[in-house]
């Protein structure tokens, strides 16, 4: 199949209609290593691993529905999705940005070690599961809508922000097991949750000034990506969920 690529200085446009993921990724890798810094891919429909293995900064705009493992192991690029993302976006991501103008499926940000994921609407199960952090490397996931169960499961680091923008006044998030097994990082959550919806390893605290600064920074970026007023997003009360213990399972064993 002849792959339709139009390049122009440092930008390119690819028509991905009918392309298998390996063909599309091969093209992406080639043109990015040729120095193209901005790529628009049209007709994306289920191709996996977009953004994986690019190995240098580039901005990839995707029109359509990218497949699973979008940006898996990604290191550097910025991906903008005009549409919804499927499962596993940002899987074990190291750095870069994924901006989704829609919703994302399950395990968004699984084991991410850095980078940012902005999701305008909802996420599926287990978003932010087992994110980590080390010194200044801190993954960030901001979700505009609500989440399904096991949000932030096993979280070992990073920042997870849930804005609940599509909840009505007084409506509760439905996710259960939020932060179950959490032993690092922080979740900022707007909208109501019952205590039984939280994992037993999670504590609730009001925000301190340092928290507000973090929130301001990332909700500001969220607002800029999706055309919201940043102040509007911060107007409501947030709660902070934090791990009660660094070692949740320290007392589990008999020696």
């Amino acid at each position: 199949m002849k792959i339709r690529v139009e390049t122009n200085d440092h930008t390119a446009r690819i028509d991905a209609t009918g392309l298998r993921y390996r063909e599309l990724n091969t093209v992406l890798k080639e043109i990015v290593s040729d120095g193209i810094r901005k790529v628009a891919v049209h007709g994306v429909c289920g191709q996996r691993y977009l953004g994986t293995g690019l190995g240098r900064p580039a901005e990839i705009e995707l029109f359509g529905t990218p497949g699973n493992d979008l940006g898996a192991f990604m290191d550097g690029p910025r991906i903008i999705v005009h549409g919804n993302a499927q499962d596993g976006c940002g899987n074990t991501m190291n750095s870069g940005e994924i901006i989704i103008h829609g919703h994302a499926g399950d395990i968004a940000g699984l084991s991410a070690r850095g980078g940012k994921i902005f999701i305008r609407e909802d996420v599926g199960y287990r978003a932010g599961i087992h994110m980590k952090e080390y010194q200044d490397k801190k993954p960030v996931v901001v979700v505009g809508g609500t989440a399904q169960d096991f949000l932030g499961e096993y979280m070992a680091g990073g920042i997870l922000i849930l804005l609940g923008l599509n909840l009505n006044d007084g409506e509760y998030h439905k996710a259960k097991f939020i932060g179950t097994g959490m032993h690092g990082g922080v979740i900022y959550l707007k909208g109501n949750v019952n205590e039984y919806q939280l994992g037993k390893e999670v504590g609730i605290a009001p925000l301190e000034d340092s928290d507000r600064q973090v929130l301001q920074k990332f909700t500001g970026e969220f607002a800029a990506h999706f055309g919201y007023e940043a102040e509007e997003l911060l107007r409501h009360e947030f709660i902070k969920l934090y791990p009660r213990w660094l070692r949740p399972y320290g007392k589990l064993y008999a020696y």
Partner: protein, 501 residues
Amino acid sequence: MKTYLPAKFMVERDPERCIQCQVCVNQCTFDVHRHDPDQEMVRSGEENCVGCHRCAIFCPTRALAIKRNPLDYRENYNWRPEVIEDIIKQAETGGVLLTGMGDDKSQRIYWDHLLLNASQVTNPSIDPLREPMELVTYLGQKPERVEVERHSLSLKTKIAPQVKLEVPVMFSAMSYGAVSLNVHESLARAAAEAGTLWNTGEGGLHPSLYKYGGNTIVQVASGRFGVHSEYLDAARVIEIKIGQGAKPGIGGHLPGEKVSAEVSMTRMIPQWTDALSPAPQHDIYSIEDLAQLVYALKEATDYAKPVSVKIAAVHNSAAIASGMVRAGADIIVLDGLRGATGAAPKVIRDNVGIPIELALASVDSRLMQEGMRNRASIVVSGGIRNSGDLAKAIALGADAVYIGTAALVALGCTLCQQCHTGKCAWGICTTDLALTKRVNPDIGARRLANLLRGWSLELKDILGGMGVNAVESLRGNRLHLRGVGLTDTELEILGVRMAGS
């Protein structure tokens, strides 16, 4: 709470030989020996002794002997001392019984019921010291057939990435954090010297060891610790760890006290937090998800490295292995019931999984029956103790084996099974810097390389005796095996005939 646990060992100190030098006091990490300043005497409190023999080996005058405590309960085949003592421990803590190393129970060890063949009269044996004897093994996916350009006779087939082993023995996955950096360095250097591979386990690769990347298998496990593009790029092989023989279906908790500054850096998690490895990989809930991760890793490394998938040997291993091959695994690793660990719930270690011999035989047979044995190499681990086990594993169908426990024994381990405490007196399974220096990587690498050399020489002897001079002639050649003391069903699963038949 007063403990009802009796001492496991007795420490006998010969007062004639003891020179009060306190080496035992310094060597013991379990506080068995102590110096009494009032009486200027070294004394021993045996209730803490784990039987690791560190003191006895390092005592300059051989004054110490460690013996089993002969304290006998009333004889009871059902309520054995171990059963009683486990209950006491749980009554006193309310916890999950934790242990280290592999299953130590009496399930049948099939290696000991398999015997190898040798040539006599009708075909000659070969003298390996003076004739060529090849152990070279290539791991990786092979095509079903080779295509050659008719006219130029040049090769048309593009073969998938292959890894060359000079000897079909590799060091199995032991993570940095579970074992020390000096152990990793010893393994890496020995692998480089012997022309084989070592495996990082799931704790990442310390920056100082990147230079051994060409001999390194990097693991991608459920915790994804230390997994990033440089790590994947550095490796010779990438291994997806689904499970391990010591704890099939179970995740891991590296206790916070082992997460030192260096471990924290390599795993990229904060210091002193528990490093949790979830039970499943949360992007693999099904066989098509395994395919997705296999190809994600291939995509991330430009299809330049074999991807291995490791599972614990369990009931439906043959079916699972067939699925793994169909999912794109270039190497499949089976880790048997006796595979070891730095920490596992004892009930899992001793009760879950199946012996590696049976798993290997059934997986190799199944892949043959499905006509796809070429599509993946088979590596086995979990209780390979010597070159005899190695030769038998190869004859059952393995391309190579992993050794973990044997490698640690080479470094000093005496299987005291206290790995989970982090107090390893031999400095192996600990990140306490005062202890880790007990393994000197120069000496460690030497001991490990020596072990591989010894096994290589023995394997060549075994091959020569059979009258073959290349290891591929033994691989999967079950006619070179006979069984003793096995039932018909066991022989059938092993695909081996009874000795004498």
